[in-house]
């Protein structure tokens, strides 16, 4: 059997666990096959449990393991790193729990925390550097370790309660999406709810935007006085939270 065919068939058997597929493998001694099957599913199950600890608590162990097992059956791992296997699990949970939207949102929060934890480093603008910035030429960009999640439920409050070992609140649904900001500051991941206007301003800085354009957009939306006030207040908070870097033209 050619090596490429053997490897294709072996992975097919790992994913399916099918006895007929195992019987087709050209083995001299098949006794240890179960070890590989256990390793494969065990590693993926452990990855999901470690990546989504509060989602596991919210669902309960049996329900979480059931959802994880269905995900493992549906989605074979494709990345070189096991950590990436967590990436698609929130979508699977949304499919599994279409009427319990907080489940998928809890998982999205945990995925965002994992992603920001290892996102690229940056040198965020410091408050004491603001006086030295040429604001007419400055381009503002959000740090790589920043994610904005549009949430429809109080999943953030549930996550915080579970993480602090407190009784979680009952699920509540919002009429409008409530954005949640997740970011890393000083090696620690943080989160806070923001309003739609702040979410839009942060989103427009993701690829870098001249500060002058940011002000012009705010003035167009809220008028000169309120637009500049909002931009100034936002800028002060974003710098305090370590959310933005400055690239000068």
């Amino acid at each position: 059997m050619r090596l490429t065919d053997l490897q294709r068939d072996f992975l097919g058997w790992l994913a399916s666990g099918d006895d007929e597929a195992a019987a087709r493998l050209p083995l001299a001694d098949p006794r240890g096959l179960r070890v590989y099957q256990n390793n494969y599913r065990g590693a993926l199950m452990a990855c999901l449990a470690e990546s989504f600890p509060q989602t596991l608590l919210w669902l309960g162990e049996a329900a979480f393991e059931g959802a994880a097992a269905r995900h493992i059956d549906r989605v074979p791992p494709s990345s070189w790193t096991l950590d990436d296997y967590a990436r698609d699990f929130p979508e699977s949970l949304c499919e599994d729990y279409p009427y319990d939207q907080e489940v998928g949102e809890l998982a999205r929060i945990e995925l965002a925390l994992s992603q920001t934890f290892i996102a690229a480093d940056a040198r965020p603008l410091q408050l004491d550097q603001m006086a030295h910035v040429d604001w007419d030429r400055a381009i503002l960009q959000t740090i790589p370790a920043l994610v904005i999640l549009p949430l429809q439920t109080n999943a953030a409050d549930i996550w915080i309660a579970l993480a602090e070992d407190l009784p979680p609140p009952a699920t509540q649904w919002a009429k409008a999406q409530s954005p949640l900001l997740v970011w890393r500051l000083d090696a620690l991941c943080r989160l806070r709810s923001i309003d739609a206007d702040e979410a839009a301003m942060l989103a427009c800085m993701a690829d870098g935007v001249p500060f002058a354009d940011l002000c012009a957009t705010a003035i167009a939306q809220w008028g000169e006085e309120e637009g500049l006030t909002r931009t100034g207040q936002g800028l002060s908070r974003w710098v305090g939270d370590g959310l933005i870097t400055v690239l000068e033209q």
Partner: protein, 274 residues
């Protein structure tokens, strides 16, 4: 400067110990993939550790046995880490983990055939070119054997070193596990190893499950593995020796005590009259 000799695999439960004060190890080994990330605290810790300790990068996902070759994005990430950390050893396993887009995240065994040897040699050569460094390849533990294997694992490794110039990372626990599972002699294995190419030795523990030994890295190094270390060090006296513990990780002093045993064995082998 003498080559680092005795080290530990650095794992999360021991970060605080290593950050708090210098530990009596000559080097640390880390799992490469855990640090092939864009940034954040893990990479910061590794940079910090590198200021104090020589570092060995030990990979689990290069997949040198993949029939469809290596992934360029993987090599690029590993090269970036190598350039930043300047490890004294870069290693991975004689195994395959991936085919096409499907990754197993397990160290899967190869049939020991001429075709597989051609594949592994081509992949190791490509990796060494991409990294600009020699690699060490580790003998795996295995639980199955293939009907069409036509050479022993040690012959396969010998021919691999001859064709690619790579070095060997000899895991003596893996030898014991595979020898027990497949019914061959550990002594015969060691007799066939090209020790001129052995630059590092791994020590670990295992678990028995029914009729198989499983390479779990969750137990202290057992006596049969210490015995193999003694034989290996007699043939490769300059090899760097380290202990791998990946599960049921004990307090750091427990692992340092095991490392003291390894140092004592090395001393006895170097000077048997002492």
């Amino acid at each position: 400067m003498p080559a680092p000799r005795f080290g530990l695999g650095l794992r999360k439960p021991h970060y605080a110990d290593f950050l708090a004060s210098p530990q009596p190890v000559d080097f640390i080994e880390v799992i490469s993939e855990n640090f092939m990330i864009p940034g954040g605290r893990p990479r910061e810790i590794l940079r910090h550790m590198r200021e104090t300790y020589p570092v060995a990068l030990h990979g689990v996902s290069m997949s040198v046995g993949s029939a469809d070759g290596l992934r360029g994005d993987y090599l690029a990430r590993l090269r970036a880490l190598v350039e930043e950390i300047d490890p004294f050893i870069i290693s991975d396993h004689l195994c395959w983990t991936r085919h096409g887009a499907h990754n197993s995240h397990d160290l899967l065994p190869l049939p020991y055939t001429d075709e597989a040897l051609d594949v592994v040699c081509a992949n190791v050569a490509r990796a060494q070119d991409a990294l600009g460094r020699k690699m060490l390849i580790e003998n795996p533990s295995s639980y199955i054997a293939f009907a069409d294997s036509d050479m022993s694992e040690w012959d396969f490794l010998t021919r691999l070193t001859e064709r690619t110039g790579c070095g060997l990372l000899l895991d003596v626990n893996n030898i014991h596990v595979s020898a027990t599972n497949h019914g061959f002699s550990s002594a015969a294995y060691l007799a066939g190893v090209p020790f001129d190419h052995v630059e590092q030795i791994h020590l670990a523990g295992h678990t028995r499950s029914d009729d198989l030994l499983i390479d779990t890295h969750d137990q202290p190094v057992p006596d049969p593995v210490w015995a193999l270390l003694r034989v290996a060090l007699a043939r490769a006296p300059g090899a760097a020796v380290m202990i791998e513990r990946d599960d049921a990780i004990p307090p750091l002093p427990d692992l340092l005590a095991e490392l003291t045993i390894a140092r004592a064995i090395a001393s006895e082998v170097a000077c048997p009259c002492a």
